[in-house]
Symmetry: C2
Subunit: 332 residues, 2 copies
DNA sequence: TGGCAAATTGCATCCGGATGCAAAATTAGG
DNA sequence: CCTAATTTTGCATCCGGATGCAATTTGCCA
């Protein structure tokens, strides 16, 4: 089989018509007579012709590609329901060009690469520099940040109510008699981690609880595990541990229950954030805050698609309500 | 700011040279005098010009994009270390166009979309029809299957030793005195699931164990959980449960330990496959088979890149050794 | 059946860079 | 200092489709 890639010219020649006719038959905006359409479609089928999306992009001025930047956490994939994104986009005929950013770092390189491919928009769950965002704006590429914040007025945001939900955790715990707590923080540089911490502090103040003890668990299992071990002698004074994500909470539980022989929620209550898959497992039954990541990403892609159509829309900030998932590890 | 997208023509005009000069300065193969290079780079910087990758693709005949098709499992992201792929590719200047296929279905649509974008190669962890593969071959797009098998001689494969590793599980269990076992199967249509089942059966035969009982858990937590519950009255006769993936094994453990009050490995031993993140958690400590998914994907992208350079290489089948991870749930 | 509007089709050009070829400029050698 | 070899640079064209415009055909109605 000597087949090379067939083009609209090949189809045109085979069907005995002009290239523009072929183009028109394959374009929703073009029209053609029934016989012509028929002739061309037959020829196209024979050659297994499909329009070259790259060439289309070049003349159409749109690639129908959405750039997506996600962070991966050390040895664990960032639990982004990617299918929420791609599923949503596939219906509108868009594809996803993926970039993965290191957890701490800025996704600036990723942005550059995406811009070079002239993606129609960028959905990003990673930190970006002001400059990177400025580039997107200058090139008029809409950008939607998911659970991140930028000060630029030209950027859409989709976030969950991180501050308020953590605040409510404090109030809830207080209502069940908890007084002394330990808060497991995420990385300083992480906006979400900070909000959850601040929100929890505020909640403690409002509830009349003392300032929580705090420790930095870097969002990792080991961070949670080791923090718990470090507090082993003082654990008696602590009524509850609140963790900025589930991974650290799971680590802490493993230390408390399986190393120190404590029982949960009997000796200590635990609350996490994110409702990750482990949280619902029988040995944990972790009370946690579920952010509707699925819906958030779906919304983010919708916003992106909207803004592609209508670039001058005022920028939108969407805050989606998290849901408290009360399981056995802490109840109120 | 009225900025539109700047092109090589804009840069050329600003620098007072021809467009081809600009192109040459930005192309590794092109050469230019130092002053020209300087003038152009200055102008380019002023306009923040970067070559349009789409336009480059069109004339270069390569997109520098790798298509990737992954499956997602119901409510859980397929645990593909995507960063293994993208990290590897980023170094060679390639990007990833992502498609997500439904678990059962064939990724044929995904292939079509990728072909329309003229990706340089496809890496796929999903099932594909013969026809889809034929299309790739006809269009001379290299395709690498990860943990799947096709009969086509033009396709590269990277798989783990699914059959042999499951076989070894049987021998290992037998050596520790296990006789009667239950095997938790994955979906019929899944090639990996089948191999693990067959391998385990073979191992049983070799070890002189009776044929294992079998149940279909569809690779899901619920599948494992419910199967275990169903066998609750006969669980006394069973020495060990072997599961074709960890998710089902975890489900089974939750049922056995937290519903039926059994102890592991005291009453039943459990073995899983995949070494998923949950497997190492304290309450499970699941003995499992770890396939080097990271290395497999890395190898797959390497193969793809190689074949892009040299399409006539004989096709390669790589089988990577899995590793037995002995934890508490079963020891030998 | 003539005449005009509407639909069909093809031609030419554009999208943004890459590159073969030839003209112009530089360098080297005698 | 002049010619030949070499480098630098620009012109023209190509990659594969989309589309405005004009030419051609078809259809409709009087």
């Amino acid at each position: 089989m000597t087949s090379r890639r067939h083009t609209s010219y090949d189809v045109a020649k085979l069907a005995g018509v002009s290239q523009s006719a072929v183009s028109r038959v394959f374009s929703p905006s073009g029209s053609a007579s029934p016989e012509m359409r028929d002739k061309i479609l037959r020829a196209a089928k024979k050659l297994n012709y499909k329009p070259n999306a790259i060439a289309q992009s070049l003349s159409y001025g749109r690639t129908r590609i959405i750039g997506m930047i996600i962070t991966h956490f050390s040895n664990q994939i960032y639990p982004v329901p990617l299918n929420a994104v791609t599923g949503n986009l596939m219906e509108s005929g868009e594809s996803v060009l993926l970039q993965i950013a290191e957890p701490g770092a800025l996704g600036d390189d990723a942005v550059q690469r995406l811009l070079r491919y002239r993606v129609d928009a960028i959905v990003c769950t990673s930190d970006l520099s002001k400059q990177a965002i400025a580039h997107c704006i200058a090139e008029k590429v809409p950008i939607v940040l998911v659970n991140r914040k930028s000060s630029s007025p030209h950027v859409d945001h989709v976030v969950s109510d991180n501050f308020e939900s953590s605040q409510r955790v404090a109030l809830g715990l207080a209502s069940s008699g908890v007084v002394k707590t330990l808060f497991l923080k995420g990385p300083e540089s992480n906006w979400v981690a900070q909000l959850r911490y601040k929100g929890y502090q505020k909640g403690c103040r409002e509830a009349g609880m003392p300032r929580p003890l705090t420790a930095d668990g870097q969002f990792t299992y080991e961070g949670g595990y080791e923090t718990a071990m470090k507090y082993s002698d003082r654990i008696g004074e602590i009524d509850a541990i609140v963790s900025a994500n589930d991974t650290m909470a799971i680590g802490a539980i493993d230390a408390l229950v399986y190393e120190m022989g404590l029982s949960i929620p009997g000796d200590v209550r635990i609350v996490g954030h994110n409702d990750s898959p482990e949280a619902r497992l029988k040995p944990y039954q972790l009370t946690t805050i579920r952010q509707p990541m699925d819906a958030m990403l779906k919304k983010a892609t919708e916003l992106a698609l909207q803004r592609i159509e209508n670039p001058d829309l005022p920028s939108t900030d969407i805050i989606m309500a998290s849901e408290l998932v009360l399981r056995k590890s802490a109840v109120w």
